[in-house]
């Protein structure tokens, strides 16, 4: 397929590398917000191709990583009940809770299933009318429309045995929080392409002008990322702080209005705790009152847990870009993808997992 091969083309990649070198005159710290972009950067070695004066800071855009431990514990409490089939995306299974993880619970006999789409959980609910089917809804605005439609369909079908454990999170509030921090080092931002395909990018306009930080909505292929970096560095060198859209073949200013409409019908914005980052104002989505019948938190008792975070994982520093994964003393020692201490080593989008997988030397 031409679209894909063009954006992975080696000659074009080299041309953009040269173009970036030709306009860079000083040190710039640029954050890519999305874990998918972090993965591409480390996989293709983009950080090693560009001038050393450009520091790429890996952002908090890994929903698996930022799902608070309280919700992992809630998931475990629901999944261990005998009448429950607990459905989740695969990369949540190994995220450590206070005392266990979903994969281990599955090995102990719980009925936990990995699904490709929330709609698979709806099918399971239809096929298993005597079991409770619970879907663990994690993810940014890219994923929210998919769970919104699952809840909509559950309502249409009057499915009494389906419910949602909703821990969806939103990108713009966390970007504001990072920029507002006294520790902030970020001077330019690559915005998350697929989140913006749903939400558009108008929410970034006031953020860019308030903090005087250029934001470039960027895709995921190597040429996309280099082009996004080029636009961002060009603005930084010229003292500009606009919102630009590199990923125009997918993202429009207004986003996907049909998806936004259903999201607004099903979910409501709430404050949410992010793992490693604390409470983010407006940083999460919960089912709105009209859909509370399908809210797993109301259907199951999950309130009595005492949460215990690992004392050695430096996830907060990693997610804010204050340190790079190899700077954590446990990286590659006590913490590996096989035995993850923290969530950033579990997910394929976690910065620690990307460095462990693609870097033989650190």
């Amino acid at each position: 397929m031409k679209q894909l091969s063009t954006y992975r083309d080696a000659d074009l990649t080299q041309k953009w590398v040269k173009a970036i070198a030709s306009i860079t005159t000083q040190t710039w710290n640029i954050m890519e917000v999305c874990g998918g972009q972090t993965h591409s950067i480390i996989k293709y070695g983009i950080d090693q191709l560009i001038p050393e004066t450009i520091d790429l800071i890996h952002g908090p855009g890994c929903p698996v990583c930022v799902t608070p431990i309280a919700y992992i514990d809630k998931a475990l409490a629901i999944a261990e009940q005998t009448d429950v089939i607990f459905c989740s995306f695969g990369d949540m299974l190994r995220v450590p809770g206070s005392a266990n993880d979903l994969l281990n619970l599955k090995a102990q006999g719980a009925d936990i299933r990995v699904v490709y789409s929330p709609m698979d959980a709806i099918s399971l609910a239809q096929l298993n009318p005597h079991r409770q089917i619970v879907f663990f809804a994690v993810g940014f605005e890219t994923t929210v429309p998919t769970t919104a439609l699952a809840v909509y369909k559950a309502q249409q079908l009057r499915l009494p045995n389906f419910s949602l454990l909703s821990c969806h999170v939103r990108v713009p509030p966390v970007v504001s929080k990072l920029f507002n921090s006294p520790n902030n080092r970020v001077q330019g931002l690559l915005g998350a392409g697929h989140v913006s395909s749903v939400m558009g990018y108008h929410e970034y306009l006031p953020i860019a002008s308030q903090y005087r930080i250029p934001i470039v909505i960027t895709g995921f292929e190597p040429v996309d990322i280099l082009q996004g970096l080029f636009f961002c560095i060009k603005q930084l060198e010229n003292g500009q702080y606009e919102v630009e859209n590199q990923y125009r073949r997918v993202v429009k200013l207004e986003g996907n209005l049909t998806a936004q409409q259903l999201m607004q019908k099903v979910f409501v914005t709430v404050d949410r705790e992010w793992r490693g980052l604390g409470k983010i104002t407006g940083g999460g989505l919960a089912l709105n009152g009209n859909f509370s019948e399908w809210d797993a938190e109301q259907r199951f008792n999950t309130t009595s847990n005492i949460f215990k975070e690992s004392s050695i994982c430096k996830i907060g520093d990693i997610l804010q870009g204050l340190i790079k994964p190899p700077q954590c003393p446990e990286f590659g020692n006590r913490c590996t993808p096989e035995h993850p201490v923290g969530a950033t080593m579990v997910s394929s989008e976690g910065a620690c997992a990307a460095y462990f997988r693609y870097r033989s030397t650190y």
Binding site: Q3, K18, A19, F89, P145, T146
Partner: protein
């Protein structure tokens, strides 16, 4: 998590409720039924960006072409020098 992959629509199944419209999408040989709820404008042969069983956007061919022209504009050093 926000991973989304492009595929081409090869057939459509319309539904009375537009939110339940589906299509068969070809991902480099792997065919899968995908919800087209959020791309009401999508037609057969369009490329769509798919995440967790849902098409979230139709790939804009004109914009893809335009961004190739951007490549030429900014990276054609050899031709200029």
């Amino acid at each position: 998590m926000c991973l989304a992959v492009p595929g081409q629509i090869i057939s459509l199944q319309d539904h009375l409720d537009p939110l339940l419209r589906c299509g068969l999408v070809n991902f480099l040989g792997i065919r899968k039924e995908i919800s087209l709820a959020y791309v009401p404008e999508a037609k057969i042969n369009d490329y769509v960006i798919v995440h967790a069983g849902f098409a979230l956007a139709v790939l804009d061919e004109q914009e893809a072409q335009a961004s190739l022209q951007v490549h030429q504009e900014y990276t054609d050093f050899e031709a200029v020098s």
